[in-house]
């Protein structure tokens, strides 16, 4: 099923906007988690983790799901397909785990937000979860930059399925 050109452009715009938005919001999350880990000011630490939880649920999670969904629409609704080209397949194999890992990491984010609501964190408190909330967005940024590069450069290579399909429709 191939989309009409107008619809395809709209779907492409939605995919680019949600993917780039996801990348930007992860960058904002990283700034907050670094502030939460390194700041000596208790109000800054408290605000950082509360804001981190807020943007996780209100921006990052919706954009990640939108990016995944619009990516599926883009691939299935065009002749690129989902399993025909390695670059599309690799993008999918990066985006799905990234989304799952993001959803898993909402737990420690929530735990830190609950902690700062009721207590004041000092330097040694919850060091690993706080460090992890710096490492995770850095890893996510790497994945999102790789998927962006794949979408732009589109390195060649047909999967076996893609080769079979190409022979069939030639």
């Amino acid at each position: 099923m191939t989309m009409a050109p107008g619809l395809r452009r709209f779907a492409l715009a939605a995919h680019v906007a949600s993917s780039v938005g996801w990348l930007g919001s992860v960058l904002a999350f990283l700034a907050l988690s670094v502030a939460g880990l390194t700041s000596q000011d208790t109000q800054t630490v408290r605000s950082a983790y509360l804001a981190a939880e807020l943007i996780t649920w209100s921006v990052i999670v919706p954009l990640s799901l939108a990016s995944l969904l619009t990516g599926l629409v883009q691939s299935l609704g065009t002749t690129w397909g989902l399993f025909r080209h390695y670059w599309v397949l690799v993008k999918l194999l990066l985006t799905v785990p990234a989304t799952v890992v993001l959803l898993v990491h909402t737990r420690p984010i929530g735990r830190l937000a609950r902690a700062v609501e009721h207590t004041t964190l000092s330097d040694g408190d919850l060091t690993w979860p706080r460090t992890q909330l710096v490492i995770a967005p850095v890893a996510a940024l790497v994945v999102l930059l790789v998927t962006t590069a794949l979408a732009i450069y589109k390195p060649g290579g047909l999967t076996r399925y893609g080769q079979r399909r190409r022979r069939t429709y030639r």
Partner: protein
């Protein structure tokens, strides 16, 4: 994602695919991905898991 392939033989398109096995960049990606997954599993098994669980 992007515009569909043009089949023009230039730029992005399926004609650039090498016949047979996976291209080298896919193999490099696979090796890096497997290494990262193994490192992550080891970190989790040694107790350095998300939130310490």
């Amino acid at each position: 994602m992007a515009d569909p392939p043009t089949y023009s033989g230039t730029g992005a398109g399926p004609d650039r695919g090498a016949p047979g096995g996976a291209p080298r960049w896919v193999k490099v990606f696979g090796i890096i991905a497997i290494t990262l997954v193994v490192v992550t599993v080891v970190l989790h098994l040694t107790g350095n898991s998300p939130g310490g669980h």
